[in-house]
């Protein structure tokens, strides 16, 4: 068996504050951001295929509440193929589908730029003295968390239970390089000065359908947004929102390889299961020295770092025997493996070596500098302020951006690539078809979803174009088609049968 291409995307809920208002309403603030950004007519979202309550384990939910679909709220699809909308009381940005980790770093960074532009635009809509500010983090420090979810295309034929077994120790341990760092603890977790992850305190179950209550480490939402006979979409809710490009690159790149390895089967030659993964997740996050050990089901104890070395060993064996074609290609896959090894090595010697690459280390070093200069205790509010403002998305206020400008943070992509991705879709997936239709015929796109577009071709009825195959509709597939047509009607005519984008 050969793993399906690891098409992936990241959805980020941003923290939002409306400053200077007597009665700040976060839903209104979020709407203003999106309306401010979207200057063309807003494109409605087609909810026909949305089924967030469906469960990957194959049975109906037992009392679990599926997330609400808030059709009445602001919802935009952008020319870069992304979705930008109000979810609960947050502005949420879902990147377009990307086919490798570096492409997704660009798309995720473009989301930050879009939020920054939105804040500027919203300022013009607000009374004097009011301002909307957004943060790319996952917690308000008071027990309220909002997510940064990853999505990966996975082969439907792989039994979900086979994924879960290895994904639990994977998610418990990968936080040592993809955690975004946090001052203190929340949600009843034990006291700690500084921990590795923003999110670890909020996970209470091993496996389940919830995302807002009793959050599970492995989420079972089964809503593929693609051909359900062929694919799953693994919905990963356990991650932190990252600012460091290296952290995002590793988070996505390593997880894609691990998933491909599990799909192909037969590579996991020992049981990596952890006893009590929920408690283990907190224990790992609460120990920035990386010395905390977890208990293995097979017996014995080991550190998160030691388990990560095991995962890397398996991934290398997988790469040597099966190749990494489905993980963004051989070259990029090897780049992930090399960086993964370098980062684990750095963490083993002293995490401080990863300042400028990993968020939790970069922020920790900034806080340490303040602790030592100002002689601060870890419960000093100034440290919590620094923590929060590291994630401020305004370029002139973001402490992360200050570090970038000072040359303290490694960038993996150019700003020119990021700015291009604000407007243009990735070329390698169906996002290209979606984004190009919106760029050319915004007025004719009546509704859009991940797996369909509805076009008004000027005569009844409206035409629905399914896009059930995420790898199709790429620039390679449809560039000539777009060159040959000038109207959406011609486009529909040219699609041999408008059931599938070719």
């Amino acid at each position: 068996m050969v793993a399906v291409p690891k098409i992936a995307g990241i959805e980020t809920e941003y923290g939002v504050s409306l400053r200077g208002a007597a009665d700040p309403n976060p839903v209104l603030a979020s709407s203003l951001l999106i309306n401010g950004f979207v200057e063309q007519r807003r494109i409605g979202w087609d909810f026909e295929d949305e089924s967030p309550g469906r469960d990957a384990r194959g049975y109906a939910r037992d009392g679990a509440q599926p997330p609400e679909v808030e059709t009445h709220l602001v919802n935009a699809v952008l020319t870069n193929g992304a979705r930008y909308y109000v979810d609960h009381a947050h502005p949420e940005y879902s990147t377009p589908e990307c086919s490798d980790a570096l492409e997704l770093v660009v798309a995720d960074k473009a989301g930050e730029r879009i939020l920054a532009r939105s804040m500027q635009a919203a300022r013009r809509l607000l009374p004097e003295g009011q301002e909307i500010v957004v943060y790319k983090n996952n917690s308000d420090g008071k027990g309220n968390s909002y997510g940064c979810h990853e999505n990966y295309l996975v082969d439907r034929s792989v039994p979900f239970a086979a994924l879960v077994r290895t994904l639990l120790p994977w998610f418990v341990t990968r936080q040592i390089f993809c955690g975004a760092g946090k001052v203190g603890s929340e949600n009843g977790a034990g006291p700690v000065d500084y921990q590795i992850s923003q999110r670890a305190d909020f996970f209470e179950e091993e496996v389940g359908l919830e995302t807002t209550l009793k959050r599970p480490i492995v989420n079972t939402r089964d809503e593929p947004h693609a051909d359900p006979q062929k694919y799953r979409r693994l919905h990963v809710i356990v991650g932190d929102a990252n600012l460091c490009e290296v952290a995002t690159f590793l988070k996505v790149g390593t997880t894609a390889i691990v998933l491909a390895m599990l799909e192909d089967g037969g590579f996991v030659d020992k049981d990596l299961s952890i006893t009590g993964p929920v408690a283990a997740m907190r224990a790992v996050s609460h120990d920035p020295s990386l010395r905390a050990t977890v208990e293995l089901v097979d017996g014995g104890r080991c550190t998160a770092l030691e388990l990560q070395w095991e995962f890397l060993r398996l991934a290398r064996k997988y790469a040597d025997e099966s190749g990494l074609e489905g993980c963004g290609g051989e070259l990029l896959g090897r780049q992930v493996l090399e960086r993964w090894e370098a980062v684990l090595g750095g963490l083993e010697r002293d995490p401080v070596h990863l300042a400028g690459q990993l968020d939790w280390v970069t922020k920790r070093q900034l806080l340490d500098a303040y602790v030592s200069r100002d002689d601060l205790a870890w419960d000093d509010p100034k440290l919590s302020l620094l923590d929060l403002q590291y994630h401020d998305v305004r370029p002139d206020r973001s402490l992360y951006e200050r570090l970038v400008r000072a040359g303290k943070v490694e960038r993996m992509v150019t700003e020119a690539e990021v700015l291009r991705a604000v407007a243009e879709p990735p070329a390698t997936t169906r996002a290209y078809f979606r984004g190009t239709c919106l760029a050319r015929w915004a007025d004719a796109v009546v509704a859009a979803n991940w797996d369909s577009l509805i076009l008004d071709v000027g005569s009844d009825p409206l035409r629905r174009i399914p896009m059930m195959e995420p790898t199709r509709g790429s620039k390679g597939h449809v560039e000539h088609l777009f060159e040959d047509v000038t109207t959406p009607g011609q486009l529909v005519d040219r699609l041999s049968a408008p059931q599938e984008v070719e």
């Binding site: 980062v343 401080v352 400028g356 900034l366 500098a369 993996m412």
Partner: protein, 64 residues
Amino acid sequence: MAERERKQKPAPREREGEAAEVAAPAKAGEALKEDLDDLLDEIDSVLEENAEEFVRSYVQKGGE
């Protein structure tokens, strides 16, 4: 793509060998620590005022 940024791309550097892999991040980490104090003054000037009140008033609704 700017030359400076091209140099920061990880793949070619890391393929040069183990020594380069080990040295690069270590150097970056130490350099950051040394220079950070100079940055603090600059960061002081953009920090929100009244940390305690500011942190207290940052309250979000849960999401997802």
